[in-house]
Amino acid sequence: MVERLVLLETEVIKYEGLFEAKEVIGVIKQWAKDKGYVYLEISHIETTKPEGKYVEINGMCFKKLTDYTKSLMRLRVQFNDYKDVVIDQDGKKKKVHEGKVAISTTGFIETDYEGRWESKPHFYFMRILWHKYVYSPLISGHETQIKEDVTMLRNNVKSFLNLTQFQ
């Protein structure tokens, strides 16, 4: 069975104000493209309520690092109570959205995702030894890489939404 270890706990980025929904998703897609991740939307919900539109996207980004380890990021994007508004930008009219955005991300590392070390008890025993004493430096390198990737995405989203605080 696949073993999944949480490397970065769920962090929710919240924003309220003007935004362009497609561009927010575009930031995530661009990050996935740059970092070699596959971006998949597991579910995509769009509904219209009296108080505004509601969009919820549950997605995941994954990258096979080796035959044994895989980087995985769970993603949940919510656009809540948003409405279309027209703003003046450099003398030109532009349609944007106004509402609430919540983006939660969690970073994981998956080991033995092909389930090849689980078929026989002695394979499993060997896997534990291999994982603990032989492969551990490489895995810790992968963990660092995944943490950096997820942190980069969080920073990209925050800077896109103008949430970065300078001290």
Partner: protein, 166 residues
């Protein structure tokens, strides 16, 4: 021999949409992308009207190579379908309103012609070497990515047809 599925894609929509256009888009995507039209009874599109609910299922397969075959299945469910008239830019438009649930599942099959199956232990072993060793990355990376890209394209097209914004 082996089947490799990709995660199920779910699209939900509540609001206005063009029913006919959605069905046409769905039906058109399969031949446009090289998928064989449904042949046997199980693969024929099935439609069922249950009061104001609408269920539709379509399956397609594509022979990518002599060894690899893609399968895509779309299940479309429309609940509480109601015909409505909208006034858009001063014009009256007939459209529908419903709750929609679309599920897209896809998988790839290796050795779909069963060339290596049931022909003695040696041939079976050769088939396993081919699938698990020689073509492993071709199947798990290249063809999987290709299938994911096709399915994401279909999902995007369906979302655009329903008028989803994101």
């Amino acid at each position: 021999m082996g089947e490799y599925s990709i995660p199920l894609q779910i699209i939900k929509h509540r609001g206005f949409f063009d029913h006919e256009k959605l069905i046409q888009t769905l039906q058109g995507w399969f031949p446009e992308n090289g998928y064989d039209p449904a042949v046997d009874l199980k693969q024929k599109p099935s439609m069922l009207r249950l009061g104001h609910d609408f269920l539709y299922k379509i399956k397609g397969n594509k022979k990518v190579t002599d060894y690899i075959k893609f399968y895509v299945e779309v299940s479309l469910k429309e609940y509480n379908v109601q015909g409505v008239e909208l006034i858009q830019d001063g014009k009256k438009i007939k459209t529908s309103e419903a709750e929609i649930l679309i599920e897209v599942s896809a998988k790839q099959e290796a050795d779909w012609q069963k060339k290596f199956a049931g022909k003695g232990e040696f041939i079976k072993w050769l088939g396993e070497i081919l699938e698990k060793r020689i073509l492993k990355y071709r199947i798990n990376d290249y063809y999987e990515d290709k299938l994911i890209a096709e399915v994401l394209g279909l999902c995007g097209l369906l979302r655009d047809t329903m008028g989803q914004e994101v």
